[in-house]
Amino acid sequence: MMRKRTLATMITTATVGLLVLSACGPQSANFAAGFKSKDPTTFVIQEIAGGPATLDPALAYDSASGEILQNVYDTLVFFDREKKSDLVPMLATEVPTVKNGGISADGLTVTFKIRDGVKFHSGEEMTVEDVAFTFQRGLLSAGSNSPQWLFVEPLFGSTIYNDIVDQLDPDGEKGLIDNRDGLKAEDSGALVGLCETVKSKIVADSAANTVTFHLAQPWGPFVTTFANMWGSVLPKAWVAANGGWDGDCATWQNYYAPTADELNESGIGKKVNGTGPYKLKEWGDNELILEANENYWITKPLWSGAPTGAPKLKTVIIKYVEEFSTRFAAMQAGDADMIQAGSAQDWPVMDEAVGATCDQDGVCTIDDAAKPLVRYVNQDVSNRTDAFFNFKINTEGGNDFIGSGKIDGNGVPPDFFSDVHVRRAFAYCFDWDIYIRDVAQGEGQQANNVMLLGELGDDAKGMHYSYDEAKCAEEFKASTWKSEDGKSLWDTGFRLIVGYNAGNTMRQAVAQIFRDNISAVNPLFKVESQSLEWPNYLEAYQGKKLPFFIIGWIEDIPDPHNWTFTYTAGAFGGKQGMPQELKDQFRPLVESGAKEIDPAKRTEIYKEFNKLYYENVPAVLLAQTGGRRYMQRWVNGYYTNSLYSYNYYYVLSKS
């Protein structure tokens, strides 16, 4: 997911990070010795101000919402503890595979066996109709700000926006995307027909107690998609009673792509009725309170060592606190059990109160018996911040980011980055070592390819760029750009502005590394950094006005396709204005990579993709920077799955 919405969530991208502990055993007894919480059943976490955008699982697509959803709703399958690629059954009784018959041999039919006797918070029992309705409603209520494209793509095949309305508007000419009024004006027969198609693709069978999905193409990561917050199962009757769609095919268009206030006016956006371990007690403007679901249905641990029955923490208070110093003070005073740093820039401050350190393997050492905090360091993450070139900078209505708009030493032309030499020069001028050492506090590793390190398709031996002033200069000299009087780019110089969202010190540092190194190569080359307030940043970004932008991506599903698609066609590809011929080269590789089931063949396809990406450098791939977590020593059971949105409170307890 691209973290959207608030400034605050943008700041956290890839800096706070989500961590993976591969083998964290139970913490040793002396670990928390002498550190006791005043109130062992209440957990207080202080996070950066912001809070959830909505609690409607069909539309939530930000980590603050995800944190709530993953604790109040359950999903058909769930991650096996910290392992993001292994699944355990949750609301389903088994994870569908080809072997157990859950996935058909051609990979086009996926059937989930649904668990009996699971009750929603309101007391009603969950049925297969509820499950099927949840996903039908999801598809039909999407809009481009929702995570539903993750389901639309496998069920309908790749379309222009991967949104359900593309079926009525395949080229996007009618502008139906996000446009409810436009949709309502469509032929009612076509609308009902589309809804019926959706229902025919997601079928509940109450006799067999199953829900079956009919895919448009084989899709390796399909089952994994259900493990995250967009897989949360809702009760059908409750949705209808709380201002949501009731399943009637004649009316679905009235609920399409709701706006933020519509979401929060309606019950489903504000209230919660899930099957999860926590209930929503209160959602205030600066804090959110969860209380334990005493009748939680789990009687057999999901994985060995997982808890059963009612959660140990009876109350979880999530506070949204703007000021880092205030959060840190609450931690020192013992009033908060866990806090979020503003960025890696705050780690040295927190370290002052740290007495124990746990590493990637879950091995903990005690550094100072008297200090109250424990830190989990040097962890794997599922997100990365990169720097993207805009091939076709929008100049409509003027564009200050590219100065004069010409090669005259005081600007760049709108298609400046269509010259591959310029892109390569930028790539050679980035200093990964100093980025990892200073900005990521030494916890990070340069990205090899668009996909995450170690993921299928990632090739550590493949080509990648490294800091090289000479090559940077050479590429700039090789540029074909000329000024009006025929002087070369090298002799003329250029000036452009890198915009980043205000407050994000990490992105500012990235921009300044480029600025410093490029101007060191040639003083005529001026790359300026400018902070933009969030709405302005969003406007410039969405309006494709930023010549060179720095943005992060958090993986939605643990699969390279989530990266290859996003980086060449989806969220970023579209904003980069990549020329069609380049897109056409990437597209077959992206699509065949997704359809291919055999990992060896997929690796080969991605190898080719990586080579093409390296040669064309549509973006400078930076580094996967480690996340840290800081908490009180009395917090037990902590581990992180990098695809969780913050914490899964069910597994935590306090001593």
Binding site: F328, A329, Q345, D346, P348, V349, D400, V439, S519, Q530
Partner: protein, 347 residues
């Protein structure tokens, strides 16, 4: 019993002897001369003036105190890398240090730049930020105070001089601008202006001016009202001197002093208003040489004061001295201009 004549002192002894009027006094005029003398003879105000002079000198000679890094915008504070943890004073400057100024080697005996006051979080050099920030402070202080005063004086003077409905309208407008708490109003206006003008010194500068002139207008209006009816003004009117000439030639110069006192004291606090807006994220670009920025860099590190004291103490001292300087001068001016002390030139 002494005679009456004996007990009375002769008139001639009581009378003030004719004073020699110096060139300076003739040049400045009696009123200004009195102020001038007062300010330069009061020890506290001499300290204040020295402080202000010191800051002006620092601002003027900033490029000689610490030259800008080659090819870089001099108003952007240079960074020695991007590290989060502040570096203590005296740490060697490793990455792209500025050129050595003339005074450095003779004074320190070294030919390597060090971070004289350390760096703040993000490896920004504090010394550079404070020296070049002095320039920003003086420039911004002069612009803001100058424009604010001008607006205040014009509105106050016109209002008082013409009276009637003009006075009524202008004073209502003044009241409206005063109806908002300063920080709220300045915050809002800079937030509105930033998308238009871009981040930088202008949005906060304009916002502070827009919501800062009212007290001057009110003050000068009051003072003019008391002068307006004096004989010499009446005389000028009778002679047929034009309104504007009377207002700006005769009235304003005589009523302006209390307003100037207030203005001089306000220059110091302007810097603080700037810092407050920086704290709220509405100030200059991150890294711009402005004291508010330098203080803001310390924001998250104040929590470990014992270890990173230098990131707040040095900028703190600079701010206090600057405000103190203007306050001392302002205080002295107020004492001098207190009507009860008028005429005591010889003191």
């Amino acid at each position: 019993m002494k005679s009456a004549s004996e007990s009375m002192t002769p008139l001639s002894e009581e009378a003030i002897p004719l004073r020699e009027i110096g060139k300076l006094e003739r040049f400045l005029g009696p009123e200004f001369y009195r102020i001038f003398r007062g300010v330069f003879t009061n020890p506290l105000s001499v300290i204040g003036i020295s402080l202000i002079l010191f800051f002006i000198l620092v601002a003027v000679f900033a490029p000689f105190i610490i030259p800008p890094v080659k090819n870089a915008d001099p108003f952007m504070i240079p960074r020695d890398g991007y590290a989060a943890a502040p570096l203590p004073p005296g740490t060697k400057w490793l990455r792209r240090p500025p050129e050595l100024p003339f005074w450095y080697t003779p004074l320190t005996g070294s030919d390597e730049w060090v971070h004289i006051f350390g760096t703040s979080s993000g490896a920004w050099d504090i010394f550079y930020g404070l020296v070049w920030g002095t320039r920003t402070a003086i420039i911004v202080g002069v612009i803001i105070e100058g424009v604010t005063l001008l607006i205040g004086i014009i509105i106050g003077a016109v209002s008082a001089f013409y009276g009637g409905w003009i006075d009524e309208v202008l004073m209502r407008i003044t009241e409206i601008f005063m109806a908002f708490p300063f920080i709220f109003a300045a915050l809002t206006l800079s937030a509105v202006l930033t998308p238009r003008l871009g981040k930088g010194i202008w949005p906060p500068t304009i916002a502070i001016i827009a919501f800062g002139w009212m007290s001057y207008a009110r003050l000068i209006r009051g003072d003019i009202l008391s002068i307006r009816e004096r004989d010499y003004i009446m005389a000028a009117r009778v002679v047929g001197v034009s309104d504007l000439r009377i207002l700006f030639k005769h009235i304003v110069p005589n009523a302006i002093y209390p307003t100037l006192v207030l203005a001089s004291m306000d220059i110091g606090t302007l810097v603080i208003s700037f810092a407050a807006l920086s704290f709220l994220g509405i100030g200059t670009e991150v890294g711009y040489a402005d004291w508010g920025q330098v203080i803001s860099f310390a924001r998250n590190y104040i929590g470990v004061f014992s270890k990173y004291w230098y990131i707040i103490v040095y900028p703190g001292i600079v701010l206090v001295l600057f405000v103190l300087g203007w306050n001392l001068v302002g205080d002295a001016l107020r004492d001098i201009m207190d009507p009860k002390m008028r005429g005591n030139v010889r003191r």
